[in-house]
Symmetry: C2
Subunit: 196 residues, 2 copies
DNA sequence: GTCTATAACTCGATAGAC
DNA sequence: GTCTATCGAGTTATAGAC
């Protein structure tokens, strides 16, 4: 593993745990077991390293959403409900959504661009699946664009409630409630898949 | 206005805008136009002042929720939908929920206690209104405890999406979608009320 | 009760040896 | 390409005059 890779991996972990502003170069270097010179040589600044790390985390998160929402097994409703009910690292939060509450992230062009682009893509994936589910009569009627943001918001807000509470229960209640509201018919099981 | 009041008011504003960790005593003192000595005399520490400010903000937010959710005008469904659709300072975010993403807040006993207690109370208010709405057949059937967290999460997540996007649209879509999913019958208007 | 001065520390970034 | 030493600014908190 090269110094670059070690730095990016350490920055990903720390930014997921603590956000951008609260993650100092010092802590990244300690975890990566790399000297300060390497970081500034390869990435130029804290922001440069953070952008590389965030880009990778966002790509990973997006890929997980795509696997669920574009799956060719099961109907559209199950894919949408599956997105709500996937196993997540509830107490850590979403590595993407987490960045939205950091003023320094919104003030940075490179970081806020990744943030916007990632949410935009998940929104599109959700909209498509929801439109298909509504057309098939599996999901309650409604504007797919609205419902897509409702689903996104339930997940992101679930993280907020869980962190506030210090436990996963509020997250689980929130997604369970949303799944119940979305379905036209209440058939039992919903697909669970392991991911963050 | 006493020095204490000026300090608390300034801290409330800054913590709403930037959170706890990113709000330094220096910035609070500048905005309050008060010397450093006053702050440490009255509140002992940054955390002490922050707790006083957060307590006040949380009480204000809770009072607004109570006005909507315990109103005796309109049916229970309109109160729940009203809570979703109130006019809010979408780009600033929720002065309470904002704190949940700050690691320093969760590490502080006094601050995290206020956070947990406030969400718990809003959750109770929502649960009661939802249970009444379900019993009256105005809201879709479901576990009121689950739906209460769904509604809370839509609002908190809507803030996250709006901040990420830099505009209020994702928030508005999310709450509109949730309101549509909650109602058993789709009658037009929903109550709007001016508040944060 | 409020002020200024200053302590002890951490921040992000740079310099220059190797 | 990686290291250590150091810079200047900003952090929370304390000391002591008034």
């Amino acid at each position: 593993m090269t110094s670059q890779d070690r730095l990016v991996a350490a920055a990903q972990e720390l930014m997921w745990e603590r956000g951008f502003a609260a993650t100092s170069p010092r802590k990244i270097l300690d975890r990566a077991e790399v000297g300060q010179g390497s970081m500034y040589h390869h990435f130029g600044s804290k922001e440069g390293l953070a952008a590389a790390a965030f880009e990778r985390s966002a790509a990973e998160t997006l890929a997980r959403a795509e696997v669920i929402l574009r799956s060719d097994e099961g109907d559209a409703a199950s894919r949408v409900v599956g997105y709500l009910l996937v196993q997540r690292e509830v107490l850590l939060g979403c590595p993407v959504g987490r960045m939205a509450s950091d003023p320094d992230v919104l003030a940075s062009d490179s970081l806020s661009t990744i943030l916007r682009a990632t949410f935009a893509r998940v929104r599109t994936l959700l909209s498509e699946a929801i439109a298909a589910g509504v057309a098939a009569g599996e999901l309650r009627d409604g504007d797919p664009a609205d419902i897509a943001d409702t689903v996104l918001a339930v997940v992101q807000g679930g993280y907020v409630l869980a962190r506030a509470e210090g436990g996963a229960e509020p997250f689980n209640r929130a997604v369970r409630g949303a799944a119940a509201l979305l379905r036209t018919r209440t058939d039992g099981g919903a697909g669970d898949r392991a991911t963050r």
